[in-house]
């Protein structure tokens, strides 16, 4: 299982959390998510795998957590 966390505005679109059966890579995961939640396509976000932000397609292992992080606006 892969856990996917959504934050900020993205959680309004997709809910705070979802679990998916094994997906090979982040590119594949994002493709699936965009199919399930078409509104995601218009949103800017970065991706973290197990709390490390990534900039390229990344292979996913079982039980990993992927987080979709829209632009930060703390403070």
């Amino acid at each position: 299982m892969i856990t996917v966390l959504f934050f900020g505005k993205l959680a309004e679109i997709a809910g705070a959390k979802t679990e998916l059966p094994h997906v090979a890579s982040t590119d594949e995961l994002l493709q699936q998510l965009r199919t399930s939640f078409p509104l995601l396509a218009a949103e800017k976000f970065i991706v973290a795998v197990d709390k490390k932000t990534i900039t390229e397609n990344t292979l996913l292992t079982d039980n990993c957590t992927v987080a979709l992080l829209p632009p930060f606006s703390g403070g």
Binding site: L5, F7, G8, K9, A11, A48, K51, A67, L69, P70, P71, F72, S73, G74, G75
Partner: protein
Amino acid sequence: MDAATKTNRVMERKPKNIFVQGAIAPAFIADSIAKHSSKTTIGGHNIFLGQVRADLIDEKKVAAIEYTTYEELALEKMHVIRQEIFAKYELTCMHVHHSLGTVAAGEICLFVFTSSAHRRAAIDACNEAVERIKTELPVWGKELFEDASHQWKVNQ
């Protein structure tokens, strides 16, 4: 290894919790300042406070901001920021507190507090910490308007 050393080592490894529920009270800030009177090597403190603005957006007024975070990642990130700032500046101490949940317009949502023997280090470290908190911490502010609609805050 004595108890104090042991405590320090544990603190270094385990990120401190910076999050507080709701607004940061001025009395809490006063307590935090007062606690430093026993640290008599300190010559200067610098404090930054973020306050929620009642911005007018398309004729609707912001009544409050609701903050959420990815807490695990935020605390790890803050831990790295803290270590890098301590490595860079001659600080005596640094304290960071950020609100989660709802903070009304006019209330304090961020409290960054640095202290050093000579003012330059405290001022520069505080400045850098604030910039990094704003750009690097996974925290999101939802601006709640008086009519109960909302929009997601964008940092400048």
